[in-house]
């Protein structure tokens, strides 16, 4: 009588194959989602191009995101800020007319957040700007993007490594960033 394991393996092979393929499929599916549907560059209500504004015309970030240097949140420019320029500039472009619709109806523009931190994170733009951290460090080369997209998911690891490199005072204390 044999104690060989081979016949058993023969029997189990099909089941094993099914399982294996299933697993591979799982991994693939997970990867595919991240790769093809990342949701890192959502469709905004108006196709605002940072490339044109920040890139070609070299408008400084702080000109529109005026809050960044003195508040926790960088803030997005209010509608009238956009209109100030676009009353005269490129008024014929369809996207600008979209903007003007908002302005005439006195409606705010529902921009979709690209970089979004969880509510338990305390990230004061103020401190980082005043410390001379370039916006691009976290937001990526926005001035080259026609459509802004999140470069990397903003994770705790990045904050930590940056805090370490620049040896931020108490940069590794939990309560420095968490609330």
């Amino acid at each position: 009588m044999s104690v060989s394991i081979v016949p058993t393996l023969k029997v189990l092979k099909p089941a094993g194959m099914v399982l294996l393929i299933g697993m591979i499929g799982l991994v693939f599916g997970f990867w595919a989602n991240g790769a093809y549907f990342p949701g890192t560059s959502p469709q905004q209500p108006i196709n605002f191009s940072h490339k044109i504004h920040a890139g070609d015309f070299e408008i400084p970030c702080m000109y529109c995101h005026i809050q960044a240097r003195r508040s926790i949140s960088a803030g997005v420019p209010s509608v009238n800020k956009c209109v100030n320029c676009h009353k005269v500039i490129a008024t014929q472009r369809p996207q600008i007319q979209l903007l003007m619709n908002y302005w005439e109806n006195q409606e705010p523009i529902p921009w979709i957040k690209v970089h979004d931190l969880p509510d338990f994170v305390y990230f004061p733009h103020k401190r980082h700007v005043s410390a001379g951290v370039a916006c691009q460090t976290c937001h990526g080369p926005v001035e080259t993007m026609a459509v802004v997209s999140r470069m990397a998911p903003v994770k705790m690891g990045q904050c930590l490594s940056c805090h370490k490199e620049n040896s931020v005072e108490h940069g590794l204390d939990c309560w420095t960033c968490h609330k």
């Binding site: 092979k13 099909p14 194959m17 099914v18 399982l19 393929i21 299933g22 697993m23 591979i24 499929g25 799982l26 991994v27 693939f28 599916g29 997970f30 990867w31 595919a32 989602n33 991240g34 549907f37 949701g39 959502p42 809050q67 003195r70 508040s71 926790i72 949140s73 803030g75 997005v76 420019p77 209010s78 509608v79 009238n80 908002y102 302005w103 006195q106 409606e107 705010p108 523009i109 529902p110 921009w111 979709i112 957040k113 979004d116």
Partner: protein
Amino acid sequence: MANIDRRDFLKLVGAGSVGAGSGFMLAESIKHPVEYLIPAVIPPEDFSPGIVTWYNSVCGMCSAGCGISVRTREGRAKKIEGNPAHPVNQGRLCALGQAGLQVLYNPDRLTAPARRTHPRDSAALGEANWEQITWEEGLTTVAQRLNELREGGQSDSICLLSEGVRGHLASLFELFIAQLGSDRLLHYDFSHPHSLYAANQRFFGEQVLPYYDVKNTRYLLSFGADYLGSWISPVHHSLGFGHSRQGQSGFRGQFVQIEPRMSISGAAADQWIAAKPGTEGFLALGIAHHIVSSGHYRGADRADWAKSLQNYSTGRVAEQTGVPADTIAQLADAFMGNRPSLAIGGGGAGSHSNGVDTLIAVNALNYLAGNIGKAGGLAFNPIPVAYPTAAILPHARQANYRKMLALAEDARRGKIQVLLLSGTNPVFSLPAAAKFQEALTAIPLVVSLSSFMDETTAMADLILPSHTYLESWGDDFPEPGVGFSTGSVSQPVVSPLYNTRATGDIILALAHKLNLSETMPWPDMKDYLKAGWREIYRRGPGQESFESFWIALVRAGVWGEKTRRESTGFVPDKQVVRNIGVTPPQFSGDSEAYPFILHPYLSIGLHDGRGANLPWMQELPDPLTSVVYGSWVELNPATAERLGFAEGDLVKVESPYGSITVPVYLYRALRPEVIAIPIGQGHSEYGRYAKDRGSNPIQILAPQMDTTGNLAWSATRVRLVATGEKVALVKTGGTSRQLGREIIQTTTSSAAYNAQDSGRIPLREV
């Protein structure tokens, strides 16, 4: 694996696709939800996201008139704190004041004008039978009716019943009613110290409250006044209390509390004396007698005093009050011994049939000890020339119980055609015996300007909801002042949440509809306010322009001028001295059938019931019992044992005028023949947090009045009837005994330290 047949192949494909699908879903499920970033269209100039803005204003939660600073971010009020620049509260604020945010953001606010659809006597009150209307409609309806009455010469049938307001809103009310040709303007607050005003009128000859300088006093004798909890200006008194006790070197202020049931002032006191309810006056005179007879007092009118006090020898007073004679003597000596001393009276002691006498006796003590006009005694507030007329005597319009009865009577007789209600809730805060609710049904048109659906508003035909105090312009002149003229301006700290209007704006809008524009030309309350303050600015020593004065004023939230009043030379009228004396207290209900005396008291969190719709206040454990959500009746453990009651037993508290059912709480510091019930709960309307919770002791009070027609609300006799039911009191406290664990450690006063290095924040000299 060379040969795969069809079935195997399908299996594998299936497995692969299922796997891929689930993997995809898995990744999808752990994704961030979409969030929006919505900018303002045109940002207001003082608005920037993430940056805090503070607005100074005035607290509207009680009549103390504390100054507040409201912390706002992204246009929303986040926190209320005391205004450090305000002399009354100097940056501090009580629990109720801080809960003001929940008045603003209360989920049960009235959001738009509404008209009653069903007749008022129909059983169902509340939301069910209201229909929304526009402001235009609402105002026109009222204006037309008022106009008819005015033309028809029935102006006097128009009545404006408001909560106790001061400053320009008060004067606006005056103006409005006057313009309508009526004189029916009443303020009603349950806790208004009528008897104190009366007593001061009789003794000092003026109907204002003096400034009680707790801060500098060395010995405070309080007859029933819960000055730390609910009496007149708790926060200011607390500041003074802290300073007098530990704020100054050399001595530590002594505090004595005389009351049948220990309040937080009693708990804080060095000595708590439970005199028989209603006999506080005797005690005061007993002390006075000892002061005079023992030669402490050396005034010219000594003889008169001796004469009028002869019936109040410590011995007799001892048996009248149940306080040992030597204790009385000791109090008297201490009172004279550590001057400046101060005697105050009010609360329960002032609300007996002999309340006014009692408070006069208390005033007499201050006089005998020479505390009048002294720092650490009581100082008379200046009558400020600069104040708007109506604000000079906010007491003048206050309706005591007799006046309210008269109003109800007139209403029943059809003498009232239109009743404008603003802020006050008499249906809740008047005894059922007053039959005020029934009276309301007799009024053809009842208009409520309240922000909430309270019991009285539920009786209205028309609701014109007003802003909360955090959304409207106004000002206030605290009464009593802090010894010098002071006023404060309140401003909207957030843009209005709902389709409501400021009370002042509503009144002005009505005025315009009634073509009173020439006498009341101001478009809205803010303009009226500015006009009024322009006047003050003109009279005052104005250097800079009014605009800059106004801006500075609104920024600071408070304004004052250091004008003190010299009144040391005060000598009471001979007649007054001759008539000094206290009549024995009368209690309604005979002592056989109703063995207990009901002692209602203002709850710390809910005050007279206005706080009951604020979840924070409902969840604030009562300092003395730690009970939350609901009301209770306090029994002395001995009494409870005699009657066989334990904590949580539901008992029926019956007075000759009604009964309420409340659970028992065993309270150690309470006279055996007295039972105490907190005021504030027991609303039948007033929003989800207040509705149908606990019971309202005011309802069962006897219509017992003192000589001046004030409700003697601690002079009702009651009996307890067991219901056999038992409930679990909701409270935080476990066992309130230390078991020798030295959690709260004490030291003898001999070990009191000198305050130089105490590190205490020095109290600003006011």
